[in-house]
């Protein structure tokens, strides 16, 4: 029996399950499921419960997972898992690191260290894959650290700024 505490849009759901080669028996917040299953491919899990048949496309994202079922997305975080949702709706507490989402070049710095910014306001303009894109603040706050300058080449995951 394995278990996890899922968090979806701030709501917690307890889940526990036993998995075999072709089945999963699971409960989610007390609701029981007897599932037939097939690991179709990396990140694709077919599940069938009492008639309901779904392909679940699971993608690791931002310390949580995006699961697409019938074309509809759900973002799921697990408590105690090493993955935790980084992006919240702007109301979150504590410092947030803004990192380069891919290798590229900083072509313009839009803010200064210490500045107050709003959520979704641009911090720098970065060029990658022939496109210029603004890197925006995930939440409002103060720019505690600004780690890049115009012309800097950055790698995936490099710290651009900290907002607190």
């Amino acid at each position: 029996m394995k278990h996890r505490t899922a968090v979806i849009a701030g709501k917690r759901l307890e889940t526990a399950w036993i998995e075999t080669e072709t089945t999963i028996e699971a409960t989610v917040d007390g609701r029981s499921y007897r599932l037939e299953k097939r690991r179709v491919s990396e990140g694709i899990l077919w599940l069938c419960s009492d008639g309901t048949s779904v392909d679940a496309f699971v993608t690791p994202r931002e310390n949580g997972y995006e699961v697409i079922i019938r074309g509809k997305r759900t973002f799921i975080e697990f408590e105690g898992s090493r993955r935790r949702l980084l992006r919240h709706t702007g109301a979150q507490e504590g410092a947030v690191s803004v990192r380069a989402p891919m290798p590229g070049k900083i072509v313009r710095v839009l803010q200064t260290e210490g500045a107050q910014i709003e959520a979704h306001q641009g911090i720098v303009v970065m060029e990658a894959m022939k496109m210029q894109n603004e890197i925006k603040a995930p939440r409002g706050g103060r720019i505690a650290k600004l780690n890049v300058a115009t012309g800097d080449a950055v790698n995936l995951g490099d710290l651009i700024a900290q907002v607190e």
């Binding site: 979806i8 990140g43 074309g71 697990f78 993955r83």
Partner: protein, 498 residues
């Protein structure tokens, strides 16, 4: 007819042209940069020549290297695709000098239509209506403010050498002009090697509708219906359709006639596209002519049965067009979604990396023009377009329904794509009604919610699937490479991406 054609491009459009060559019994020759070793377009060609390092300036834009490959292979013609050298007069001339046919219009036509200033002058001489604005490049912020003031806000700032939605900015008030001018000039310089920009009146609630034209070397020219390209994000088309939901036979005829006037003005030969803005009262204004194949050409092919790439090749070979204007009919409706390797959850940032799982939709009425395969690593060096998904059906309603079905079948694992973004847009009531303008996406994105409502069972199944994945994904006791499952490796790779 040519026996061998070199395709001076990469990605999905190189694959598209290679398939046209094969469909005509012509041997396709590919070129590739270091990043494209073993790319799909290279795998599908009969011959392939390395042309340098990954940056386009050192490979796909290197005229001499590409012409050397053409000489070495004995290719009689070069298809430039779109982007890269497709609208480069120097390249078109160099081909001609090297005795290789450039599959496209003459260097003179490219030059004329490539200049926003000259093309507007030419259109004006032929009586084609245009959006009010400057024709000549502006000098500085001061001049921009003066012209914008006289036109009245909002105005558009546009790169003279621009195209494909790059180097354009909307300015709603005088305060924005200086910043916008800097950014647009910088982008124009980086993208087109020319920082000239001009100012134009912004048409409110505009639709972007373009007319496909074909003209041969024997003086025949036809227009092949329109494409509705209004659904754009930051001036980049993302969804295209044929027919346009607002089109009627009279407007189509008038726009087609105007497009053919542009063909005459430019002395145009081969396939081209005349772009128009259309306002709410069905007034249309000439924007520009793209002197090459468009990304979105498949929607036209699906409704007319005309293979535009084959026609390009036949025209370049000097053949007389068999298509007559009266034979061209629009049958049913087609819609295209541009599948980009980009992350809608992260400001649409490009998402390069290895495609770990690729499940493509199939069945009746679909066409997937892809440039990638499972296991391929999308390089960071180029445009992030990985595929164009096109659905056809007898009606627009059915085509959209089919596209939604196809989008739900589509899965690209390992990198982020905009598939979910399309699944949501295609359910928007205004989109379904055909009631939109070029600002549709940007307005909709502001109130888009992160998660989409789903049933309790589906939600619980999502939790179970993620939980099973999360367990498979935990750090194992044994870190030897041999024992890591593919899921674990994938998750670790993804964990690096913030």
């Amino acid at each position: 007819m040519f026996k061998k054609i070199l395709i001076a491009n990469r990605g999905e459009i190189a694959v598209r042209v290679i398939r046209a060559c094969r469909d005509m019994g012509i041997s396709p020759v590919a070129v590739y940069s270091e990043a494209d070793l073993g790319a799909l377009h290279v795998r599908l060609a009969d011959e392939a020549y390395p042309i340098g390092p990954s940056p386009a300036t050192k490979s796909y834009l290197s005229i001499e290297t590409i012409l050397n490959a053409a000489r070495k292979s004995g290719a009689e013609a070069i298809h430039p695709g779109y982007g890269f050298l497709s609208e480069n007069t120097t390249f078109a001339r160099a081909c001609s000098d090297a005795g290789v046919v450039f599959i496209g219009p003459s260097p003179e036509s490219i030059a004329l239509m490539g200049s926003k200033v000259e093309s507007r002058k030419a259109a004006g001489r032929y009586g084609v209506p245009m959006v009010p604005g400057t024709v000549d490049p502006i000098r500085d912020g001061k001049e921009a403010r003066r012209i914008a003031g006289s036109l009245g806000y909002p105005v558009m700032l546009k790169a003279s050498a621009g195209g494909g939605g790059k180097g354009m900015r909307l300015i709603r008030s005088e305060a924005e002009i200086d910043d916008a001018l800097k950014l647009t000039r910088a982008e124009a310089l980086a993208s087109f090697g020319d920082d000239a920009v001009y100012v134009e009146k912004f048409v409110e609630k505009p639709r972007h509708i373009e007319i496909q034209v074909l003209a041969d070397t024997h003086g025949n020219a036809v227009f092949v219906g329109e494409r509705e390209c209004t659904i754009q994000r930051r001036h980049q088309k993302v969804i295209e359709e044929c027919p346009s939901p607002i089109m009627d036979p009279d407007l189509r005829q008038r726009m087609g006639d105007a497009a053919l006037q542009i063909v005459r003005a430019a002395g145009y030969v081969n396939a081209g596209t005349v772009e128009f803005l259309v306002d709410g009262a069905q007034n249309f204004y000439f924007l520009e002519m793209n002197t090459r194949l468009q990304v979105e050409h498949p929607v036209t092919e699906m409704v007319t049965g005309i293979d535009l790439v084959k026609e390009q090749i036949r025209i370049a070979a000097g053949e007389k067009m068999e298509i007559r204007q009266q034979d061209i009919a629009i049958n049913g409706a087609a819609i295209e979604c541009r599948i980009y390797a980009e992350d809608p959850e992260n400001n649409f940032f490009p998402s390069a990396g290895k495609i770990r799982v690729l499940t493509t939709p199939a069945g009746p009425g679909l066409r997937d023009d892809s440039g990638v395969y499972e296991g391929w690593t999308v390089p960071i060096d180029y445009d992030p377009l990985i595929s164009k998904l096109v659905a056809w059906a007898p009606s627009r309603h059915d085509a959209i329904q089919r596209m939604l079905r196809a989008l739900n079948e589509y899965h690209v694992g390992g990198i982020q794509t905009n598939l979910s973004f399309f699944r949501e847009i295609l359910n928007q009531p205004d989109f379904l009604k055909g009631d939109f303008d070029t600002g549709f996406i940007d307005r909709w994105l502001k109130h888009r919610s992160a998660s989409v409502a789903t049933s309790q069972t589906d939600l619980d199944l999502a939790v179970i699937a993620a939980a099973v994945f999360d367990v498979a994904n935990e750090p194992s006791q044994d870190h030897s490479a041999g024992q890591r499952s593919a899921w674990k490796v994938a998750a670790r790779l993804r964990g690096m991406r913030r």
